[in-house]
Amino acid sequence: MKFSLSWLKEYLETDNNLDEILHWLTMVGLEVETVEDQAQLVKDFVIGHIVDAKPHPDADRLKVLKVQTGTETLEVVCGAPNARADMKGIFACNGSYIPGLDVTLKTTKIRGITSNGMMLSEHEINLSDDHEGIIEVPSKLETGSSAAEALGLTDIIIDIAITPNRGDCLGIYGIARDLAAAGIGFLKPLEIPEIIGAFESPIKVNLDFNDSDKDACPIFTGRYIKNVKNRQSPQWLKDKILAVGLRPISALVDITNYMTIAHCRPLHVFDADKINGGINIRMARAEEKLLALDGKEYSLDETMTVIADNHNAEALAGVMGGEKSGVSEKTINVMLETAYFDPVRTATTGRKLNLQSDARYRFERGVDPAFLRDATEIATQMILDICGGEPSEVITVGQEPDWRRSYFLNSSRIKKLGGVEVAPDRTQEILEKLGFEVSKKDDGWETITPSWRYDIAGEADLVEEVLRINGYDNIPIVPLERVSSLPQGAINLTQDRRSRTRRTLAHRGLTEAVTFSFLSTDHANLFGGSPKNIELVNPISTDLNIMRPSILPNLINAISRNSDKGYNNTSLFEIGPQFSGENPDDENIVAAGIRSQQAKSRTWNEISRQVDVFDVKADVLAVLDQLGGPVANPQIMQGAASWYHPGKSGTFQLGPQKIIAYFGDIHPAILKAMNINIPMVAFEIYLDNAPIPKNTVRTKPPINLSTLQAVERDFAFVIEKTIAADQVVRAAFIADKQLIADVTVFDIFKGESVEAGKISIGITVKFQPKEATLTEEEIESICKKIISNVSKQTGGILRG
């Protein structure tokens, strides 16, 4: 909401300076966004006196001027048809900035003649669109004096942000009221002229609604004015309109804009001679057409309110007038409309038609339903003053909607909610100055809301009114009381596990990324697919149209983009949600990661190698170790989800159902479908599937630090290729759970010396005696048991 300081002061009598006004605007909740000193815009420009104007020798349309600037006389090349000797205008010297052209002037040669500056048009100072000729100022003005004063650009323009609840401050008078309540001066009462209509309006107005639509326009006020002259507005009105960033059009239009800005009271003026019969305010008909003032034709529907004549819709209620019945310089008789339109319907109409306007902006936030008659009188007076004419009697149809709401403010409530003591007299004064009707009771105040404050809906709102006008700065700062003297831990086990997973993976060399929760249906389908239910109705692009069933596609694409930029061998992970449906339980927090290309880059002391399934298996195990509990020791199964290489992937699970993690090479067909040609291995860890331990015993079992020497023995078994190494290891382990401390695979061998279809697996078994040193016989006996266990469970034969 833009307004000028001088306009504000027409309603607010104040001795406060600009800084105080700006401070209090923000501190009552009308946040100052920009402050512009008009004079700053033209500070480089002065009154220039053209002492000579000759035709340019080499250009028909150009003139060569001699301009006195107050300090010197300069030659200026000018194309303005109105430039002539003895005229005074606005001169811009070289080096000055021309806002309308967005250029800084330099000495230039135009057709062989050097131009040392510029005589300015209104367009070049952003005063209007007029660039037909240069500005002419009265010759009595002193050459070289400030352009700002000559142009009347001495105002301060303030732009404030208005929150959606404060429609009343979309008029300067409302802003003045808030400031006055805060003690920044006094609000001047509005002077309402009393205009006696000499005749009855020849145009009749009818509210043509069903009961269900009646509230679309509960009241309409208007007036017929005949024999007006729709001329250019006087300069004072033009200046006002320009100052708030609007363009002066014609007096009648400017007056409606004036009422909008000054009083948040959008009006409409019809050319009465274009109205066919009477005015009917009704719901639009399906597919009824309206050519609006913005030059576009809109197709309406039955939810939209229109102002129509006997034949056609002539205006979209609360949003925009129609082209056909709009006023022009030829207009003689007018119909002034001051109506109240339903905020919700106005907003819906504007949204459906994608049509924004100053009127809609105000109606959808709610204009003052009790300020129709007075507004009509003020606007009529302005029309009569500027355009002449004779007014009819005021037409009023319908009834003022009941806006009175009553709320009780308990006197203890301000301190209880706001934490600040406000004197009872001050409380009452604030509410009264804001326009509430207030009556003092024993324990508080009975209030009736002002007609313009539809946002007040309870006691808490009254507390806010008092607090904000009294100043939030006056609320004492109180530390939040500690619930306990020591913090009790902010995160639970699930959240802690995510945090550990994050830092574990980063420590293992993967870099954390954050990618969007949505992706394309194509990518979703490659990774198991997402149900139609979680497709976005209004995605920002078709590439981001469905909730992701897996994090991997986003990471794969990210790795590929990095590789395209020359950043190779990258590893990324993300911890975030993936979705299988719309219910809260269908969201799973997953830690997913990708390693790509070379595991070790080629250096002088390391041999490079490609990433493989065991890199990501290690990532998963490192995380599972962090999660603790039973997941630290899960079952492993060959193979994983469909987007993994079936032979180079594995699954960790707890029991037959609970998947803890997948890992492996990405399926080559998936990479191909995604247009990726670099090798990638991946993992997905389902963090939410890790069981929460039931009892959190923190004590650990005692440790037996045996002084007896551990013994190691190596075995090599020949097994079928299809037998999992893990089976051999487990078979060896269970030979003596007490004694065997560790079993590791140290060799896998296939070659000529091993039968086709078989492999040799070498394991080291570590025995840790606890009570006495093992004898050779004891060792021999366990070894036999290991060999027989492996043979029984895997068919493995000890290699000779």
Partner: protein, 359 residues
């Protein structure tokens, strides 16, 4: 006899002195003190000497043996040192060569900033609550006092999905505030939670991303008032930015779910196009806050006559951008390795208020 001792001593002294390596020195030792060595032989022959000479001779021979032994030891150490030095010279490597490569990943600024804020609020007794990304219209809007036709709804640029609940399309939550509702429905006051999480708005330009992160806070009990809101948030801002006297301003604003509402600004300057936090005459908005609207409490079944409290919300990316000077919002989700390495954090850089003087 005495003469020969002097000669032997001088002879072996020279040999020891001239020994070039351990092997030669060993030969000298054997020649002098070995089983058949000269000094050993002389000592063996002592028996044949006249008894009165024997004592003196014996003493002298012992001295000779000690002297030669000592010379041998000294020379041995000298030779070993020289040999070790020669070997070490041989073994020299160029230590300016790079070490074996080890890759350390980084933590994303969104995670780090979230953890920082959790550590601050954790000290104040808040615990972390979470809720679903896909939300019911009622939780995201209606319960928060944003009815269907409310203008604030339009400002939310909501993403809708196909699924419906109670005849309304489900939404991607536009803020973390629905978790306030879910928490109040589930737990009796007192409540003190913060809610970090992903949020979504249908808007994509230089300063808007369709997905971003918020941290929401909620305190509900019988006594918490607006003075506490100020105290809590001032403390948070000053600790987060590590600026002890950071100016913090509370300014009236509007949110449907709080009444009274306040926006929170921190002091800054924009001189020469560079943002400096903590100094200057300008203000930068960083938080929305307010006392929870009684209607929101009632919507959750909380007695608004008895209970009250405040709520606040902030953008995690914005907090990160301001604290760490990250210029562009959209780059957070690009996964550009250069960016992630540059703005990311070391894995062991775990935010903690007791770990360092400031975060």
């Amino acid at each position: 006899m005495m003469d020969s001792i002097i000669v032997i001593k001088s002879e072996f002294s020279n040999l020891i002195n001239d020994a070039e390596n351990i092997e030669i020195l060993e030969e000298v030792r054997i020649a002098a003190l070995g089983k058949k060595g000269r000094i050993t032989s002389l000592m063996k022959n002592l028996g044949q000497i006249e008894p009165e000479e024997r004592k003196l001779m014996g003493q002298n021979l012992n001295i000779l043996k000690q002297d030669i032994t000592s010379l041998l030891e000294t020379k041995k150490v000298e030779l070993e040192t020289a040999s070790l030095n020669a070997r070490l010279l041989q073994e020299r490597v160029d230590t300016t060569l790079p070490s074996r490569p080890e890759e350390l990943g980084t933590i994303h600024p969104i995670s780090q900033t979230t953890d920082e804020l959790i550590s601050i609020f954790g000290e104040m007794g808040f615990s972390v609550a979470e809720g679903p990304n896909i939300e019911e219209d009622w939780y995201n809007f209606t319960a928060l006092n944003i009815p269907v036709d409310h203008p604030a709804r339009q400002e939310h640029d909501t993403f809708y999905i196909n699924a419906e609940k109670d005849g309304q399309r489900m939404v991607l939550r536009t803020h973390t505030s629905p978790v306030q509702i879910r928490t109040m429905q589930k737990h009796e006051p007192p409540i003190r939670i913060i809610v970090p999480g992903r949020t979504y708005r249908c808007d994509h330009d230089a300063t808007h991303s369709p997905m971003f992160h918020q941290i929401e806070g909620l305190v509900i009990d019988e006594a918490t008032h607006m003075g506490h809101l100020k105290g809590c948030l001032i403390e948070m801002c000053r600790t987060f930015f590590g600026i002890e006297n950071l100016p913090v301003r509370f300014r009236p604003s509007y949110f449907p779910f709080t009444e009274p509402s306040a926006e929170v600004d921190i002091g800054c300057s924009f001189g020469d196009g560079i943002l400096k936090i903590g100094e200057g005459d300008d203000w930068l908005e960083i938080l929305g806050s307010g006392m929870v609207n009684p209607r929101v409490l009632e919507n959750c079944g909380v007695d608004s006559q008895k209970f009250q409290g405040f709520a606040f919300g902030m953008g995690v990316e914005r907090m990160a951008m301001l604290k760490y000077g990250i210029p562009d919002l959209r780059t957070f989700y690009d996964s550009d390795m250069r960016w992630l390495k540059h703005y990311g954090f070391q894995p062991l850089d775990i935010p903690s208020l007791v770990g360092r003087a400031s975060l």
